[in-house]
């Protein structure tokens, strides 16, 4: 490649970066499934519709939970909705998923989870026995996470207007830790950790739908991470941000870090923990595990000097035994996530547009 071509290519790429930074605008006339997938379309919808309308300083950071100051107390408030299909899958069901998901959003905001709400939207004809199973696992999950479900709501819709059972939650936690976390605080020299093997929830649910004729000995990783977070925060003051790697997976979170903090995130593919079942299924389906949802894994951005302490702290917790340092934060090129592949090449790891779609050949 001649240098003239390089220069022209760089000009085009700069123009693209400028285009990407423009204010988000929803171009579609109707909501499509891509708007719910956690990728670019979701981000655009949130920024162009919700943030534009509701804009306030507490919402603007778009973190997993908002931090509220009430009197001298610092509270974290989050909300989440669960529409997983199938409702029951290996390793859990929509009930414990709802509790753990809400607890995790609070935990990664640095809060101790305290109280949850539970709203149920039920479809006419839904078996009460199934509802009882869901509620029982919510009870167990709440007990395990040390939270109480203190208020709730029930609505029933006509047959065909919902898919069995949807759950909406809110969660309140108390922030006692003095630190302030946020992906925008990441800076060059920081490291990126994940607390365990990625993608197990997403692949489990995909296989549980029974459309793929792939069988794997795999269970969802759904779990409350508050204990792991507490261990991490007790061990080091170097934590800058934590996220639970749900919809959109680890790659989506790292893109949020790169964008919010105007930094580059460089990931070493061979350092990313991925179990053989997840890897096998993902290879077959042509899906990158970095984009597959987890429900009990966190991504932490930590000061480079505290990297080993943070890693050791995570590994002390049963959920973090396979924790790993998967990458680091650099100054250039800002806003991008780069992957050093196992093969020895380098590529970009961008936000996905919608759900990862299987390739046809």
């Amino acid at each position: 490649m001649t240098s003239d071509v390089s220069v022209r290519e760089q000009q085009v790429l700069d123009r693209i970066e400028r285009a990407r930074r423009r204010r988000a605008k929803v171009k579609e006339e109707r909501i499509t499934l891509a708007h719910g997938s956690g990728g670019k379309a979701t981000q655009t919808l949130i920024e162009a519709v919700f943030l534009e309308a509701f804009r306030n300083p507490l919402l603007e950071p778009l973190e997993d939970a908002a931090e509220l100051a009430i009197g001298s107390a610092r509270l974290a408030l989050t909300t989440d909705s669960f529409v997983v299909s199938p409702l029951f899958f290996p390793g859990g069901n929509i009930g414990d998923l709802a509790v753990n998901g809400t607890v995790n959003d609070l935990a990664v905001s640095g809060a101790t989870p305290k109280y949850l709400t539970a709203g149920f939207i039920l479809e006419e004809g839904f078996p009460v026995a199934d509802l009882s199973r869901i509620v029982d696992s919510m009870t167990a999950a709440a007990a395990a996470a040390g939270v109480s479900i203190v208020t709730g709501d029930t609505k029933v819709v006509q047959r065909g207007k919902a898919d069995g059972c949807y759950i909406n939650t809110a969660g309140v936690g108390v922030i006692e830790h003095p630190g302030r976390f946020g992906v925008a605080t990441a800076r060059p020299g920081d490291v990126v950790l994940v607390s365990g093997p990625i993608g197990e929830h997403g692949i489990t649910v995909m296989l549980a739908r029974g459309e793929l004729d792939i069988e794997a000995d795999l269970v969802s990783d759904t779990a409350p991470v508050h204990g792991l977070v507490a261990e991490l925060l007790a061990a080091t003051s170097g934590v800058r941000a934590m996220r639970d790697a749900t919809r959109g997976g680890v790659a989506t979170i790292l893109n949020e870090v790169a964008r919010a903090a105007e930094v580059a995130v460089v990931v070493d593919e061979d350092a990313v923990p991925v179990g053989p079942e997840v890897r096998g299924a993902a290879e077959l389906l042509g899906i990158d595990p970095l984009y597959v949802a987890c429900e009990g894994r966190i991504v932490a951005i930590v000061d480079g000097a505290a990297a080993q302490d943070a890693l050791a702290a995570m590994r002390r917790h049963p959920l973090g035994e396979q924790a790993a340092i998967i990458g680091r934060v650099k100054a250039d090129p800002p806003g991008l996530v780069l992957l050093n592949t196992v093969f020895g090449g380098t590529r970009i790891c961008d936000l996905l547009v919608g759900d990862p779609l299987p390739r046809i050949c």
């Binding site: 490649m1 390089s6 290519e9 760089q10 085009v12 790429l13 123009r15 693209i16 285009a19 171009k27 579609e28 006339e29 109707r30 909501i31 499509t32 499934l33 891509a34 670019k40 379309a41 655009t44 459309e211 793929l212 580059a264 460089v266 053989p276 890897r279 096998g280 290879e283 042509g286 680091r328 650099k330 250039d332 090129p333 991008l336 780069l338 992957l339 050093n340 592949t341 196992v342 093969f343 020895g344 090449g345 380098t346 590529r347 970009i348 790891c349 961008d350 547009v353 919608g354 779609l357 299987p358 390739r359 046809i360 050949c361």
Partner: protein
């Protein structure tokens, strides 16, 4: 993981890279086309170009079925899906390909029922589960996927399934390669041959490339080392003054192809007189339709299909990209008006499309990425 890791070994890649560099003649530029979109995807996904000397350029070819489907066929599919009682099934890649009035997701938001399936046989399952619906499978792909469509038609016929049909968009690879070779815009030194297509058609159909056009072609596998080794084999042919068909992917591709699969295609499908390819225009005998013997499974006969030719958007340069005349980033709308979120052209839709692969994985000049990623 076995059967994967050994094909991504960085030490072997470095060794091959050195051998390739050693074969480069000073001052000579080499241009190889990887015909298949799956190869394009592998090249970008693994950062394979980091191993190539600057004098070797890879040109991304037309072998991405989603990329070459013209807009009119998407409109036709949506038109079928809108008819009462129709439930359409399609591969995931198709869902975001834009027609003139939106893609399948948009169409579903407006009321159609187009579902994603992983295999045509799954469509048959959908048909059995929905006896009150007409299930139409949007069939697309080269000879790679045509056999599974053929087998599905055969099974539907055997089981006497009445509510299943195929909207056939299968295309064949050889006419497209010939169109590229006859294109005056492009000078190529050789081809990385499509691996999956070749598992079906074998290696023999490529002989005209070597004999009539004097270009080497190496049928390649889809792991990064496969492609690197194929480039080495191409460079060796050039060095030794040979132009032959070679098979790097012999662990999967038999020289004669898969006769059972070919028979199934021949039984259920026949060549169309001509078919429109996005960017390449009308190419004669380049696509398949359901044979009249199986007419009751042919959605084009069962449903009203407008068949209107829709011109590509003016700004779109997919044609030039598909022929390898332009690099993705050289297209006027690349990355600004045309992005994976709001694609104008098909090359930006499928992960195998050259533009999408470049946008998602390679949107940075090599030198700068290298500087940034070295720890």
């Amino acid at each position: 993981m076995r059967f994967v890791d050994e094909f991504r070994d960085a030490d072997k890649a470095r060794a091959l890279s050195a051998k390739i560099t050693g074969l480069c003649e000073p001052g000579r530029e080499y241009k190889f086309m990887e015909v298949c979109g799956g190869h394009t995807h592998t090249i970008y996904k693994h950062g394979l170009e980091d191993y190539l000397p600057e004098s070797i350029t890879l040109i991304h070819g037309p072998g991405c079925p989603v990329c070459v489907i013209p807009m009119g066929r998407i409109d036709d599919a949506i038109h079928i899906a809108r008819q009462p009682g129709v439930l359409m099934t399609s591969f995931g890649d198709m869902m975001r390909v834009p027609g003139s009035g939106g893609n399948f997701f948009d169409s579903n938001a407006e009321g159609t029922n187009i579902r994603m399936v992983y295999s045509p046989l799954d469509s048959l399952k959908v048909a059995r589960q929905n006896p009150d619906r007409q299930v139409v499978f949007m069939a697309i792909g080269f000879e790679t996927t045509a056999p599974s469509t053929a087998m599905t038609v055969l099974r539907a016929a055997k089981e006497g399934i009445e509510n299943f049909s195929v909207f056939c968009n299968h295309i064949t690879i050889i006419p497209a390669i010939k169109a590229i070779l006859d294109s005056p815009d492009l000078r190529l030194d050789g081809f990385i041959g499509p691996g999956h297509v070749s598992t079906v058609i074998g290696c023999r159909p490529y002989e005209f490339i070597a004999h009539d056009y004097g270009k080497p072609i190496v049928v390649a596998g889809f792991e990064p080392l496969d492609i690197l080794q194929s480039i080495y084999m191409l460079m060796l042919q050039l060095k030794e003054g040979r132009s032959e068909v070679e098979n790097q992917y012999s662990r999967v591709v038999p020289w004669e192809g898969n006769l059972t699969a070919l028979r199934a295609i021949a039984e259920t499908m026949e060549l169309r007189p001509y078919f429109e390819w996005r960017g390449l225009g009308f190419i004669s005998h380049s696509a398949l339709q359901v044979r009249s013997k199986y007419a009751k499974f042919d959605a084009e006969l069962l449903f009203d299909v407008p068949g209107v030719r829709v011109a590509d958007p003016k700004a779109c340069q997919c044609g030039e990209v598909l022929k390898g005349v332009l690099k993705p980033w050289e297209c006027k709308v690349f990355g600004t008006a045309c992005t994976p979120e709001t694609p104008i052209g098909t090359c930006m839709v499928s992960p195998e499309g050259a533009c999408a692969a470049y946008y998602n994985f390679g949107r940075f000049t090599r030198t700068r990425v290298r500087e940034a990623s070295i720890s």
